[in-house]
Structure formats: structure tokens, C-alpha cells
């Protein structure tokens, strides 16, 4: 084969691959857009201020989604309140204090693997440990603890990445001035790592907000048109509400618009959280030249 022919063949192969890849990308993005369009069109009809702020009525065939929204917000906030201190503490320990060796590598590997465990397994785990063994029953706190364990790998990994991004020169500079390890971490490393940690935590939060399986098992209520006043009470949640409206309700056709509305609110909530995370990351990236 001549040289020219070879390059021609190469060029042909290349353009083939580019086409295939673009096609796949188009399919992915297209599906996503279509899905989003579908939900927006379906949900726009019902969504309104009163839809968001009213209790469901007449066996969920009318009224709004207020308790489900509040329930999701409560459980997510609780989840974050539990998982962020734990996760950041673990990341600080693993990254700053622990002697880097086989044990730490093993721990890291386990954490990464935990993030791949199906959420239903976390749900069963939470049901057994928090609801039953700890005696919290099916409740906000049991669900939040379960979700916290579930997002912990994300929070830890995100926080570790953030810590790793802090330049070594800060640490050396601090220690060389006679700072203790904790002073160095607290005053030099953490301020620079917090944006990255916040990003990781919010992404974890977004995931927790959309999870269904773990909360069904550990505390979400089928229909409970009140706002929970105690962490040991059950709660409604958007993803579960959606699941019920779409598949479990006796009149699925009647409640379809409400289901669309619920889906739209949930998606907007998750998009909002993700945007906040992206905003924080970009804002600090611009501010911190070393990142």
C-alpha cells in the first residue's frame, strides 16, 4: 500500500469515528432534552404557586405537593448536616493525618466501592440498623441517616479532592513557621478547600434529594398531609410522591398532571442544587489563582 493510500485510509477511519461519536453524543443529549421537554410541557399546566404551597387533597387527586416538598427539603438538610461533618472529618484524617500506606489505600478503595452500591441496599441497611436496631422507627432521622451513609462516599471523595488541590507550599510554609498540624490545616488548608468541599457536598445533596428506594424503606409516607414536627415522624417526599402518583395510585390517569408537576419541581430542585455547586466552584476557581 502506498503512503498516500495509507493516510487516506487513516483519514477515512478517523472521520468514521468522529461521526459515530457525534451520533452517540446527539442521542444522549437528544434523549435528555426530550425528557426534559416532556416533563416541562406536562408539568407546566399544573404548576403554580398554590400547587407548590398547598396540601394534597381528595386522596391526592387535587391540591398541591407542599408536604412532599418540605419533606424532601427536611430530609436533605438533615442528610447534609450528618454527612458533611463526618465526610469532611474522614477526608481530613485520610488526607492529612493518616500514614499513607496499604491500610489507607484499602480504606479509600472501600469508600470508592461503596459509592457503587445500589441504593436499595442502603435502604435495607438503614431499615435494619437505624429504624429497627437503633429504634428510630421509620422516620425522618432514620431516612436521613440512611441517605447520609449513602452520600458519604461522594462527600469524602469530593473533600479529599479539594484537600489535594491545596498547594503543598501552603502546608510547608505553615509548618515551617512553627504551626501545629491542626493550625496549618484549620487556617491554611481548609479555607482554600472549602469551596471544593461545598461543591462535593451539594452534589451529594442533589443525589439524596432525588433518591427513592432508601426513603421508602426507612421513613417516607405514602400519604401524610401534615408537615413533620419531629425527626422521629414520618414524612412525604417528592420522589416517592411521584412514584405513587405514577404507578401506585388507583386513578393514575386522573393524577397524571400532578405527577408531571411533581417531576418538574423535583427536577428543578436538583438542577438548582447542581447550579449552586457549579457556581461556587467557578466563583472560587476565578478567585484562587492556584487552582
Amino acid at each position: 500500500m502506498t503512503n498516500a493510500a495509507l493516510t487516506k485510509k487513516k483519514r477515512y477511519t478517523q472521520s468514521l469515528w468522529v461521526t459515530v461519536c457525534s451520533l452517540f453524543t446527539a442521542i444522549t443529549v437528544g434523549t435528555l432534552l426530550f425528557l426534559f421537554y416532556w416533563i416541562v410541557v406536562g408539568g407546566a399546566e399544573v404548576i403554580s404557586w398554590s400547587f407548590i404551597t398547598q396540601m394534597p387533597e381528595q386522596n391526592m387527586t387535587a391540591g398541591g405537593i407542599w408536604p412532599a416538598l418540605v419533606g424532601t427539603v427536611y430530609v436533605s438538610l438533615l442528610t447534609i448536616a450528618i454527612s458533611v461533618p463526618l465526610g469532611i472529618g474522614a477526608a481530613i484524617y485520610l488526607n492529612e493525618y493518616a500514614k499513607q500506606g496499604r491500610l489507607v489505600r484499602l480504606i479509600r478503595l472501600s469508600i470508592r466501592n461503596l459509592s457503587g452500591v445500589p441504593s436499595i441496599v442502603y435502604g435495607l441497611f438503614g431499615l435494619g440498623l437505624f429504624a429497627a436496631t437503633f429504634g428510630f422507627g421509620r422516620s425522618l432521622i432514620a431516612a436521613a441517616l440512611t441517605l447520609a451513609i449513602m452520600v458519604l462516599p461522594w462527600v469524602i471523595t469530593g473533600a479529599e479532592e479539594a484537600l489535594k488541590a491545596v498547594p503543598r507550599s501552603f502546608r510547608e510554609g505553615g509548618l515551617a513557621l512553627g504551626a501545629t498540624r491542626w493550625q496549618m490545616i484549620r487556617q491554611l488548608v481548609l479555607p482554600s478547600a472549602i469551596p471544593g468541599m461545598a461543591t462535593g457536598s451539594i452534589l451529594g445533596l442533589a443525589r439524596a434529594a432525588g433518591e427513592t428506594a432508601p426513603i421508602i424503606l426507612t421513613g417516607a409516607a405514602y400519604y401524610l398531609p401534615i408537615i413533620p414536627h419531629d425527626i422521629k415522624e414520618q414524612f412525604m417526599a417528592l420522589p416517592y410522591h411521584l412514584y405513587i402518583l405514577a404507578t401506585q395510585h388507583s386513578e393514575t390517569a386522573t393524577v397524571r398532571p400532578i405527577a408531571y408537576g411533581t417531576a418538574l419541581v423535583l427536577i428543578l430542585l436538583v438542577i438548582l442544587l447542581n447550579s449552586v455547586a457549579i457556581f461556587i466552584r467557578n466563583y472560587y476557581r476565578r478567585k484562587n489563582e492556584w487552582l
Binding site: 510554609g173 505553615g174 515551617a176 513557621l177 512553627g178 482554600s192
Partner: protein, 275 residues
């Protein structure tokens, strides 16, 4: 006939006198048989010499010969690397640096360090200098202000930054950053300052400023400075140690190292024949 001709002996009185003076100066560091390994890779091999108080000691040698490693061993910063093993001893003011009972916070407060690449913290100019005093317990705002002003004045940065003390230190030029780092180090009131190629990232004018600063600082501090720049070593240092492949080839007064080195390898190096 049995009369031997007497060789004319030249006695340089001044040189002998100076030699005696410099020998009588107290030692801040007595390094004995210091060896160091990174894992299995030996970086320092049986280094022995003394660093004199209130003088500038230069460490020269080709890249990778262990200069930075040696410097970082003096305040045990080298231990931040994993798998570091040392043998031998470093006596700092009657204290064995490697003694497990040594308080690293105290040691590193007494032995300041300036890095090759200026490394100001992502804080304001003020907070950079105030960092050391703060972590060592100074809370009084007025006292902190005084310390910051004093240290910035001492490094000649005060007039340049006095109106922007709350700006980020990262907004300073490289030369200013390096002087800020020196000021930050002075604020801890160390006795010794270790400098690892403090001017190699700077332009000639900033370098000259830092060099002048070093000469002023030696009134008050013992200074050990690593440099790749022969002229710089000759200009600013009183003693010079020449390292090669982790070994100390020659240690002497700087004028002798540069005018009359005893070892051929030193001679080759300082005349620029290799390295």
C-alpha cells in the same frame, strides 16, 4: 656544605587573625556524620561541619547534590516526605535536633525557612505576616500591627504595601512576595533563617534587594542559604560549603573557597568547569 636554604615563609597576619576570629564564633549547628535516605536512595552521605552564629553560610553544588535536602533536615521539614531515614546528628544550640522529645513547633519557630518559590498564603498581606505571631499566641491587635509594620519595614516592603495591607498577598509581584515571605518568617522571631535559592525565581533587581536584605539580616540572624549563583555566594556569604553527590567536598571561609580551594572538584565547580 650543609647549610640548607631557608624557605621564605609568607605570613599573612590579617588572614590568620580573621581565621581565628571566625573560628572563635559560636556554632549554631554542629552537623556530625549526617546521612539521609529517601527510601533506599541516599541523598546525604556523612556530612560534618558547623554553621556559625550570625554569619551567612552558603551551600553550593550542582543540581541534585542534596542542598535542599540538607537545608530541610536542619529544621526537620524533610520528614514531611514519607520514608525518610537519617543517621548522625545535628546539634542546634546544645539540642539534638533528631531527639524524639524535641518539640517541632519550637524548633521550627526558632529556625525559619524561606522557600525557593515565593509561597505567600492566600490571605491578605497583613495576615501573611501576622500568621506566625497569631499561631504563637499574640492576640493583641495593636501588638500585631506593630510586628507587621516592623517586619515589613525590615524587608523594605513597608512603603510599597502600607496602603494595601488588606489586599491579597497573591497580588504582589514575585520579588515582593519573596520579601513578604521573609517578613513573615521574621515575625516569628527566629534565630536562624534557612533560605533555599531565595532569588532564583526573581528578576535581577528583586534579587539584589533580597541579597542586600540578607546582608542586613545577618547582624541579627544566622543564615544558611542555598544558591546556584556563584557570584551571589561570593558576595553575601562568610562561609561556603560545597556539596557533590550528597557529600560535603569542602567547607571553608567563602574567600578561600573561591580564591584558593583545596579540592580540585571545588575548583572546577567554582570556576564553572562543570555542574
Amino acid at each position: 656544605m650543609g647549610i640548607k636554604e631557608v624557605e621564605p615563609v609568607q605570613i599573612n597576619v590579617k588572614e590568620q587573625f580573621e581565621a581565628r576570629v571566625s573560628e572563635s564564633v559560636r556554632d549554631v549547628f554542629q552537623v556530625e556524620e549526617l546521612s539521609l535516605w529517601y527510601g533506599t536512595n541516599q541523598a546525604l552521605n556523612s556530612i560534618s561541619f558547623s554553621v556559625k552564629e550570625k554569619q551567612v553560610t552558603a551551600i553550593i553544588g550542582p543540581s541534585g547534590c542534596g542542598k535542599s535536602t540538607f537545608l530541610k533536615t536542619l529544621n526537620r521539614m524533610v520528614e514531611l516526605n514519607t520514608n525518610v531515614q537519617t543517621r548522625g546528628s545535628i546539634i542546634y544550640q546544645d539540642v539534638d535536633v533528631f531527639d524524639p522529645k524535641v518539640n517541632l513547633v519550637e524548633l521550627r519557630s526558632a529556625i525559619g525557612m524561606v522557600f525557593q518559590k515565593p509561597n505567600p498564603f492566600a490571605k491578605s498581606i497583613f495576615d501573611n505576616v501576622a500568621f506566625g505571631p497569631k499561631i504563637h499566641g499574640v492576640r493583641n491587635k495593636k501588638k500585631l500591627k506593630e510586628v507587621v509594620e516592623l517586619c515589613l519595614k525590615r524587608v523594605g516592603l513597608w512603603d510599597e504595601v502600607k496602603d494595601r495591607l488588606n489586599d491579597s498577598a497573591l497580588s504582589l509581584s514575585g520579588g515582593q512576595q519573596q520579601r513578604l515571605c521573609i517578613a513573615r518568617c521574621l515575625a516569628v522571631e527566629p534565630e536562624v533563617i534557612l533560605m533555599d535559592e531565595p532569588t532564583s525565581a526573581l528578576d535581577p533587581i528583586s534579587s539584589a534587594k533580597v541579597e542586600n536584605l540578607i546582608e542586613e539580616l545577618k547582624e541579627l540572624y544566622s543564615i544558611v542559604v542555598v544558591t546556584h549563583n556563584m557570584q551571589q555566594a561570593a558576595r553575601i556569604s562568610d562561609h561556603t560549603a560545597f556539596f557533590l553527590h550528597g557529600e560535603l567536598v569542602e567547607y571553608d571561609r567563602t574567600d578561600r573557597i573561591f580564591s584558593n580551594p583545596q579540592d580540585q572538584r571545588t575548583k572546577d565547580y567554582v570556576t564553572g568547569r562543570f555542574g
